[in-house]
């Protein structure tokens, strides 16, 4: 994997086939959480139908109806409470914005999925889509962080330490590796990789100014 670099005014990263599949898959999964239809013909449709997906058709119903707050904490991170101390203001905000926010976020995720599905190792992001692509990467990282239980800055620091430990154990065949939850390490490494990719993309945007 190579982070985003500027080329002909566009941001270009390099991801091998496996990396592209992993990123495309998580992007499609987040879109599913937001109530979008499955992006791909494969992979994304494997989502557990019993999983806690909020009413995917909520945004299609009349705007008069109030919309419940998402019960899945990951979705709540994507569509947070806009007025925690005022139920009426929060409900009104959700009623006005929920559908549009889901649509905006889904569209940005879909664009990444398309860009990663060209069969090419290069992930090319046009300059005018760079910040929106960084926003979509934030959404993916918000979902991962929720699954990883990152609530405070300290939690994030601890995760980095855990992964360092796990990588070290992996490299040295240390038996301590057994004490680390492999799924957590895998999600954590994906989180870190996306953080790094986003950072290089934001750097590209900042240089544009």
């Amino acid at each position: 994997m190579r982070g985003f670099e500027r080329r002909d005014g566009m941001a270009v990263a390099l991801l091998d086939e496996e990396e592209r599949l992993v990123v495309a898959r998580i992007v499609a999964d987040v879109a599913l959480l937001l109530g979008a239809e499955s992006f791909g013909r494969d992979g994304a449709s494997e989502a557990d139908p019993a999983s806690d997906i909020d009413d995917p058709f909520a945004h299609l119903r009349g705007l008069e109806e109030s919309i419940r707050e998402p019960s899945d904490p990951a979705i709540l991170r994507l569509l947070p409470n806009a007025a925690p101390t005022d139920r009426e203001v929060a409900a009104e905000f959700r009623r006005l914005t929920d559908g549009e926010l889901r649509a905006i976020k889904t569209r940005r995720l879909r664009r990444i999925w398309d860009q990663l599905s060209t069969g090419d190792d290069e992930w090319v992001v046009p300059a005018d889509a760079a910040l929106e692509t960084a926003a979509a990467l934030t959404d993916v990282r918000l979902v991962l962080s929720s699954r990883l239980g990152l609530v405070t800055d300290d939690d994030a620091d601890r995760l980095h330490a855990e992964i360092d430990l796990a990588s070290h154990a992996l490299a040295t065949d240390d038996d301590n590796m057994l004490s680390v939850d492999p799924e957590r390490v895998w999600l954590g490494m994906l989180y870190q990789a996306l953080t790094w990719l986003q950072d290089t993309l934001v750097e590209f945007v900042a240089e544009q100014e």
Binding site: P80, A83, F93, T97, T138, L142, V151, V202, E203, E209
Partner: protein
């Protein structure tokens, strides 16, 4: 929409003017400082250093007030922040 509030405040210009709302952005452990700065700079059209000051305020104090005005405008700003994955809230100024 706010007929009740308007009629309540009718004739009292000072009170109407006082009905100022604010957009607050809160700290979270996910968003990168460079990204938060860039979003503030782009969306609120702030000079780089002002955007960075708000970002540091979020990071250090846990929150920063990014805009103020009528409730409807704050709803637009908060929605934009949510579209960028930042946790923003709106409330009456001074609450």
């Amino acid at each position: 929409m706010d007929i009740e509030r308007q009629s309540q405040h009718e004739g009292s210009v000072a009170t109407v003017l006082d009905d100022v709302w604010v957009t607050i952005v809160w700290n979270d452990p996910v968003n990168l400082m460079s990204y938060v700065t860039q979003v503030f700079q782009t969306y609120f059209n702030l000079p780089r250093e002002v955007a960075a000051r708000h970002m540091r305020e979020v990071h250090v104090n846990g929150r920063s007030v990014l805009s103020s005005g009528p409730r409807e405008k704050m709803e637009v700003d908060v929605q934009a922040m949510h579209s960028y994955g930042l946790w923003a809230t709106l409330q009456r100024s001074g609450e």
